[in-house]
Structures are given as C-alpha cells and as structure tokens.
Symmetry: C2
Subunit: 260 residues, 2 copies
C-alpha cells in the first residue's frame, strides 16, 4: 500500500489558492492514501466566526466535493483537515474520501488553546474506515497528547493512524513514535509549514511531517519548511499482529481492572 503525506503552506483566507496548490501537488501522485494537514483549505489563525463563515463548508458541500474530485481523479484515498459548518456550529474537522465514494467526517475531539473560542468540541467521536484491506483511524493535531485518542482508534482496529496537524511545538513528532509502539500501528502525521499572522498573534508551524511504522521507526520525514509530497510503501498487515513477543499480546495483556 502506497501511503504519503502532503506537507505545504496553506494561505490564511485564500481558499482558491490553497485548493489549486493541493490539486497541483497531488497530480499523478500515484498513492493509495495521502494525508493532508489540519484546516488545510482555509488557514488556521482566525480571530472570529465571522472570518470563518465564507471559508467553511458543510459535510456535503464545496470542500468535501473538491476532495472527492481529486480522490476520483488520482484514484487515491485522501484525508484532510477542513473547516466544517453544521447548522450554526463550526467544527475543526477531517474528511476521509475514497475513490469508491465512501466518506467519513471526524470532528476534532480535543481543541487547542484559542480554538476553544472559535470551534465547537467535536461530537463525532473517534472514527475508523475500512479501505483496501486496511483499517484507517482519524485524529487531528492536539488529539496526539491524549494517549486515549490513538488507543481508542487502535482498539477499534485502526492499523494506520491518519493525523492531520498544524503543530507549533516539536514534541508531537516524537510522541507519535510512542503512539506507534504502544499500539503497534503505523502513523502518518501531515503537518503544515509556514508562518501565519492575524495582527495580534503570529504562529510558525514546524513541518517535519512523518510516517512511522509499528516498531516506532520513522519511515520518512520531511524537513521544517519544505512543501513536499512524500510517499512510502507499507504493509498494513504488520499492524494487525499485536504479539510483540511470543508471550505478549499488546492488547490482551492490558489489565483494565487496574486502570483509571
């Protein structure tokens, strides 16, 4: 299975430009699955819901339609963060679309810092999707710091954690290695690069998007600034076997009676 991430620099408020870049960078991508960053069609540093309004999309609207088209065009599944609006609520969401038309929307469970003033906490719960004999799990950015996110997805069968991010600190990339090891899964973290400012605040995103295997090896990692599509071949079946020694099954060895 050929999986990859697209690391790039979305421009705040410039949806058309962002969609064009995504479309171009994914041309002939020759992947089965590609993961894009959090909020990658809109940018990140909004100050108000008014600013977010025109950039938002419903789950069957403009942005999901765009990714569906690219998915069909390139015959690849796509996972991408986008700004979802549902009734009067805004969600920091992630869409999965497959060439078959299968679509899943995950709404970020754990909001970070000022996102709490702009978004509603995700109400979808953690989601998985069956795709090409593999099971994918979905998570967005700050979900990483809660081990329960990756754990919940993995216990539900996820073999590849698709992680869309806008990271400003460097801890997460290392922590995702631990997430791989403790759940014996692949992880694909697609982080953005570049600097955004909204007049009162400035953020520089840390790139270093990466793919890890169930043993915690980094299969590929981008640098801190490049815009790039990186792809590797993986065998998701490796993540299905939770026997990490002849006598240790990573999930059956859990002793839930002793956990908080």
């Amino acid at each position: 299975m050929r999986v990859g991430f697209l690391q790039f620099n979305p421009q705040l408020f410039h949806e058309k430009q962002n969609l064009n870049k995504i479309s171009k960078m994914l041309q002939n991508c020759n992947t089965d699955l590609v993961v894009l960053p959090e909020l990658c069609t809109s940018g990140y540093l909004f100050k108000s819901n008014i600013e977010m309004e025109s950039l938002s999309s419903t789950a069957d609207g403009r942005i999901p339609g765009f990714f569906k088209n690219i998915s069909e065009r390139e015959n690849t599944a796509i996972v991408a963060g986008f700004l979802e609006k549902d009734e009067e609520l805004f969600f920091n969401s992630q869409i999965f679309v497959a060439p078959s038309g299968n679509q899943v929307i995950y709404r970020k469970t754990h909001l970070f810092f000022n996102e709490k003033d702009l978004f509603s906490p995700g109400n979808s719960g953690f989601k998985i999707a069956h795709y090409n004999d593999a099971i994918l799990g979905f998570m967005v950015c700050f979900d990483w710091i809660f081990p329960e996110s990756a754990r919940t997805l993995s216990l539900r069968g996820a073999e590849i954690l698709c992680h869309s991010a806008n990271l400003v600190l460097p801890f997460c990339q290392k922590a995702m290695i631990t997430r791989s090891i403790e759940n014996h899964v692949f992880t694909i973290t697609s982080n953005r690069v570049g600097t955004e400012t909204n007049g009162t605040q400035e953020l520089t995103f840390t790139g270093m998007s990466q793919i890890t295997d169930p043993s915690g090896n980094i299969l590929v990692r981008a640098d801190k600034t490049e815009e790039v599509l990186l792809v590797v071949d993986i065998d998701p079946e490796v993540a299905r076997n939770k026997m990490i020694t002849e006598k240790n099954h990573l999930f059956e060895d859990r002793r839930k009676e002793f956990y908080e």
Copy 2:
C-alpha cells in the same frame, strides 16, 4: 527536592554482593529520593522458581528490612525492585520506603516475556505514596508500554513516576519523555546495565537511566554502561499544575465519553 537514580550492574544469584554495592553507592547520597532498578538485589534471568526461592523475600522480610535500614541511615526515601514471595506466589515487586517508616509494595502489573512463566501477575494495582509534599507513583519496566500505567498513576495525583527497569530495548527511554508530556509529570527511570546469561539466554541491559521533567526535557541521563548515582533538584509542584496553555487543562480536557 533532590531526586536521583542508581544505575548499576546487579549480579545474578549474588544477593550479598548486590546489597553491599547498593549500600556503598548510596553512602552519603544526600538525596530525598533515589530509585533503583527492577529486581536489583537478585538479578533477572532466572530459569525456575527453584532458583528464585532463596533470593526472594516477603514484604516484611530481609530485603525490605535492608532498604529500610539504608533509608534511615541516609535519611532518604528509596524505591527499588525486588523479588517478593507471598505464600507460594512470586511477584516482580517494587518497594518504597521512607525514613518515616512508611512502606508501599507495588507488584508489577504487566509481565514481560518469560517473566510470565516465573512470576504471578501483580495484584496490587497501581499505587501512589505521599512523601515530603510530593506524590510518588510506582511502575516497573514493561508497564511503560501501556499508557494506562502512567495515566492511572497521574490521574491519582502522582507527580513523580518512579520507574524501576531492566530494559533490553532502547524505546522506553524515549517513550518516558512522552509519558512526562502527556501527564505533565516528572519521571525517574532507573535501568540496570551489564549482561546476564543463564546458559540458554543472554541479555544485555541498556542503561541510559534518566530523569525527565513535565515538559519532556531530559534533566539527566546516564550512559549505556556506567555504574553511577545521578541526582538533580526538582520542584514537584511544577507537575501539579495541569494547565498546559491558558485554556488547556490536561486532565479536564479529557473526553472520557469518547474513549474505549
């Protein structure tokens, strides 16, 4: 608070030699708390319960008595792994003793590989202890790979995770950085060094004992082979504040309704 670890090379079957070394290396240690490796009085690579019999001790027996004496002599709390026997059962246990006489026994929850043939799975559950205005939590070696271990201890208030280990792989030291960050706690991993053989199996332990702070910084780390006592000053109160941004409380932000 002055906390440290003792990294050394216990000799299989040579209890007297091991106790002498511990006693000498802790002379005038000038610590408030020092953590020792897993099974540090007996060695690790037993082949049968018969071999373990004479090296084992009850919770009020010879080995706890030894650590109690050292604790009083040096006026420091001690956490150390030892071979416990209770009725007919052997446990891979960890003792905490304070100069006050307070004692806690934790029995390793998650047994690794051949330990399953020799030890009973711990039945104590995860334990904490109040000590000098701080709260300690206890874990042994392979407990590290289950995020629920550190999580459970931290949710119960532990600010310093005292981790006694006999590690043969290098993943854990990195993962303990993640354990620090995801729980905003200090961790002290005391790993042993040296090589043990029992005729059919040989193990080399990886050292690199370390102390991490709640932000995931490594405050001190030993190398792969040295026998050494390393000590740092920490402020456990740092671990008490779980606000990792102005708007994010690491524990109150948990959304248990969505976790498996």
